[in-house]
Symmetry: C2
Subunit: 125 residues, 2 copies
DNA sequence: TGTCATTGAATGACGCGTCATATAGATTGA
DNA sequence: TCAATCTATATGACGCGTCATTCAATGACA
């Protein structure tokens, strides 16, 4: 039976979806237009920028994002191809990699982050 | 400069993302497993079920969902192929279509909706 | 009525995320 | 030390959503 509580749940969910898509879409389009980088790429860049100094990042990245391990790997591929990030082999465990921002990556991140925060502020209230 | 307000915004955004993906993922997997239908398919089905009686739906659907017009069209393709929905031509405006649940569609919707609401409740609190 | 712009929907090319797998390196324990 | 197992990442096939475009029907206006 369709209770009014059900209706409320559905409405709440739709409103979450709408604001999620509105916000993600706005940020994605803005970053794409101004920096030629997608939202997921920026978010990985952001995580890497945040964690300068801790090691063997690919693994850690996977734990800090809802993306799949394989998605992270492909995002990093693109970032690397764009020259924003570089994979460094990790001496203690040669299966692992850790990531570094290149100069270009650091530069792009710092200006893109301003835009990103501004759009979050605008969209999240 | 990275203010602490910025940090809060970013944290808030990540938490929204996480709960969005957690919830959407859980529902999607459950519907897929039990009813062989994805979340977007269910949501269109749900919208159609809701609006029995109003006409020329394709258009209206696009306004009630963050999906693209073309995404809606493809979701409806799949629903139609699965025999859950049928496209009816609209006499007043022959460019438009409106949608109807088939018997199978109505049946599936009513049991899947129970599951859907339960998962929303569980995930949204 | 004939043209031109607009609208509802479908389609194809394309990019991205996911799942299942592959590969190489690490770990355990006999 | 050698299997067996596990762990970190990469890769390929695949499905889906998006964008740009197309097509048909409509509307507007001379």
């Amino acid at each position: 039976m369709a209770t009014t509580h059900d209706r409320q749940l559905v409405e709440q969910w739709r409103s979450i979806q709408n604001s999620y898509f509105r916000t993600a879409g706005a940020i994605d389009r803005a970053l794409e237009a101004k920096f030629d980088i997608g939202l997921n790429e920026f978010e990985i860049l952001d995580l890497v920028a945040e964690s300068e100094e801790s090691a063997c990042r690919m693994k850690a990245l996977g734990e800090r994002t809802p993306m799949t391990q394989s998605a992270v790997s492909k995002v990093v591929d693109r970032l690397e191809k764009a020259g924003l990030v570089s994979r460094q082999t990790c001496v203690d465990d040669r299966r692992s990699l850790f990531l570094e921002l290149t100069e270009a990556g650091r530069a792009l991140h710092s200006t893109a982050a301003v835009e990103h925060r501004a759009l979050l502020k605008e969209n999240l209230g």
